[in-house]
């Protein structure tokens, strides 16, 4: 018997697929999300802002029918009128909140309810549980955002009487994808905290703290750093350029900046670059003329890639921490 003990049955590889049972987890978690009171409140909130801002945008467009018959649908998302900000402004704030609400207690909740050891003693790997939880949150977020997105298109068609053009449709579709991954970053971040902190309240506060930091303080701090590292002493163009470039690079560490630039690039087709533009670069350009669809997408491609990369990276961090954690609370 003992001789048999020394011979492992298989090689060094783990048996079976790490994703076995993942869809069961996704099904259960999505059902939890979609029926929870927390999500209901956030959905109502986002519904309210969507209808509110679209209504205001439609009013605004009726009053200013003189010009810009182009891109009516895009202006539904971007038109603001005091005191309401545009819908994309609301999204920049609401999406992180929804994302954090979806995942801040997803792992530590299993610990505090003492369900983790029971679930992991079923024939699944930890991989399936964590991935399932993440995808369930991402799917829920996508579902909510897509529903709102369709609602706005519907309201737009009713309000303006025209259907979106092919180009407009592609632009707002890519905008939806950018929004989902902007949420993905915050989902993954809250998931990291949910794995690190055993108290759900601590995880929620930590996530909110990071969100506040990037929403309010980061731009100020980036400005201070840029002025300190690339001071403008002689007032030369090169110095001003260097400072502005550093400022922009620093600001882009924040997912909020990436999202803001991405949406502007997509929904305002006249956007041809972010940051400082020299007069020489505009040589031959017709100001205010829209960029073709392909060029706009090329412009925001790095932003979308960075948002996806940040999501994957943060999830990987949560994954590594979770794999190393002792099951026993």
């Amino acid at each position: 018997m003992l001789r048999q003990l020394r011979l492992p049955r298989s090689g060094q590889a783990r048996e079976g697929s790490p994703w076995k049972g993942m869809w069961v987890v996704i099904g259960k978690e999505m059902a939890d999300h979609l029926t929870s009171a927390r999500m209901l409140i956030l959905e109502l909130l986002i519904l309210l802002t969507a209808t509110g801002t679209v209504y205001v945008a439609l009013q605004n467009m009726r009053q200013n029918t003189n010009n810009e018959a182009q891109f009516v649908f895009l202006r539904l998302f971007t038109t603001s009128q005091e005191p309401l900000p545009a819908f994309i402004g609301f999204l920049a704030i609401l999406v992180p909140l929804i994302a954090i609400a979806l995942t801040f207690d997803t792992v530590n909740g299993e610990f505090s309810q003492r369900t983790l050891s029971r679930v992991l003693s079923q024939p699944i790997y930890r991989d399936a549980l964590l991935m399932g939880k993440f995808l369930a949150s991402l799917f829920t977020l996508s579902l909510v955002l897509s529903a709102i997105w369709l609602l706005i298109i519907g309201l737009g068609i009713l309000g303006t009487g025209v259907a979106p053009s092919g180009e407009e449709f592609v632009r707002i579709l890519v905008f939806l994808i950018v929004t989902i991954f902007y949420g993905g970053v915050w989902l993954a971040l809250a998931m990291v905290f949910s794995t690190v902190f055993r108290q759900a309240a601590t995880a929620a506060l930590a996530s909110i703290a990071i969100w506040l930091f990037f929403t309010i303080f980061w731009n100020v701090i980036a400005g201070v750093i840029a002025r300190a590292l690339r001071p403008v002493q002689n007032g030369s163009v090169a110095e001003v350029m260097a400072q502005a470039e550093l400022l922009q690079t620093l600001a882009r560490i924040s997912p909020n900046t990436l999202y803001a630039e991405g949406t502007v690039g997509l929904l305002n087709p006249a956007t041809r670059a972010f940051g400082l533009v020299l007069p020489t670069q505009l040589d031959g350009a017709i100001l205010g003329a829209p960029l073709p669809l392909g060029e706009s997408i090329l412009l925001i491609w790095p932003h979308l890639t960075l948002l996806i990369a940040a999501t994957v990276l943060l999830f990987a961090v949560a994954y590594v921490i979770f794999q190393r954690q002792e099951i026993r609370a």
């Binding site: 003990l5 003492r114 079923q122 099951i327 026993r328």
Partner: protein, 316 residues
């Protein structure tokens, strides 16, 4: 000897400097009820987690039902049911939803899952509360729901961590009866407990843990003979006990020790059941015998006695 379902060889788990389990050698055979007993923090739960592949051993080997839990955890977990201590359920879901989730994680089809849920819940007497939310359940009900979950997996072996902890005496008794019934169906059961006296009657064999090491393994009676010398305690209550009577009892062959209780009863430690001899000795010596009881050897006593000896040896 049946076939072994659990085998460990020099199994060790270290957390930094701390050795939670020290070179554990254990064999559990098919169909037996095996108890891992010892105080809290003596390594029982860590051992269980290693058997299930939920934590990796630092050194040594484990085989559960012929599989290596570290490399083939799915095969092990498919065949072994685990009831953790302080069992938790999703409070916001009903009992049925909780069980359904587990059934689906085990790869059962919807139809099969529903059928097995009905059966196992029926067996645990929880049918009336099947569609109630788990947050309304008492500790005893949760424990039974945990067992229902094990049953729907139809495991070859069940591992229970502190199954009677926090149950009132009536619920604990019921629970032990359920374990006996399960044993009768041929399932191997491994359970851990620090309430030695409570589980000693249902365990075929036990392993006593002390600071991460198994110090004694065997059937309870066998351990008693080994550690206590005399395995039987006879309690004599008689009027007119005298020095002569005491002397007569002491010289009976098979009597290992004699002591008085605080109320003046005599307790004899003997190697076999000597109630008849003791009774006739008392009567012959002129004492008036009022009662004569035999106490089964007690695991708590074995445990305490063993460590007294160990510490004596260490001090000497």
């Amino acid at each position: 000897m049946g076939e072994p379902v659990i085998e460990t060889k020099d199994l060790t788990k270290r957390y930094g400097q701390f050795e939670a389990v020290r070179s554990l050698n254990l064999t559990v055979e098919k169909g037996e009820v095996f108890g891992l007993l010892g105080p809290n923090g003596s390594g029982k739960t860590t051992t269980i987690l290693m058997l299930l592949g939920l934590t990796e051993p630092t050194e040594g080997q484990v085989r559960v039902l012929g599989y290596d839990p570290a490399r083939e955890p799915l095969s092990v977990k498919r065949r072994v049911g685990y009831l953790p201590d302080q069992i938790g359920f999703y409070d916001g879901l009903t009992a049925r939803e909780n069980l359904f989730y587990i059934a689906r994680l085990n790869g059962l089809s919807r139809k099969e899952a529903n059928q097995r849920i009905e059966e196992s819940v029926e067996r645990m007497g929880l049918t009336p509360v099947l569609d109630k939310k788990v947050k309304t359940f008492s500790r005893g009900m949760r424990q039974r729901l945990g067992l229902a979950e094990l049953l729907l997996k139809q495991p070859q072996m069940i591992i229970m961590d502190e199954p009677t902890l926090g149950l009132d005496p009536e619920a604990a008794r019921m629970f032990l009866q359920i374990i006996r019934d399960l044993k009768d169906t041929g399932i191997t059961i491994l359970l851990s407990s620090h309430l030695l006296h409570q589980v000693q009657e249902i365990c075929d064999r036990v392993a006593l843990f002390h600071r991460g090491k198994v110090v004694l393994t065997g059937a309870v009676g066998e351990l008693a003979r080994r550690v206590l010398g005399g395995a039987y305690h006879i309690r004599v209550c008689a009027d007119g006990t005298s020095k002569e009577l005491e002397q007569a009892l002491r010289t009976l062959p098979g009597v290992v020790n004699l002591r008085y209780t605080s109320v003046g009863e005599i307790v004899l430690e003997t190697t076999n059941d000597m109630r008849a001899e003791v009774a006739s000795t008392v009567v012959t010596a002129g004492g008036k015998l009022k009662s004569l009881d035999i106490e089964q050897p007690n695991l708590d006593e074995i445990y305490a006695h063993y460590f007294e000896e160990v510490e004596h040896v260490a001090a000497a």
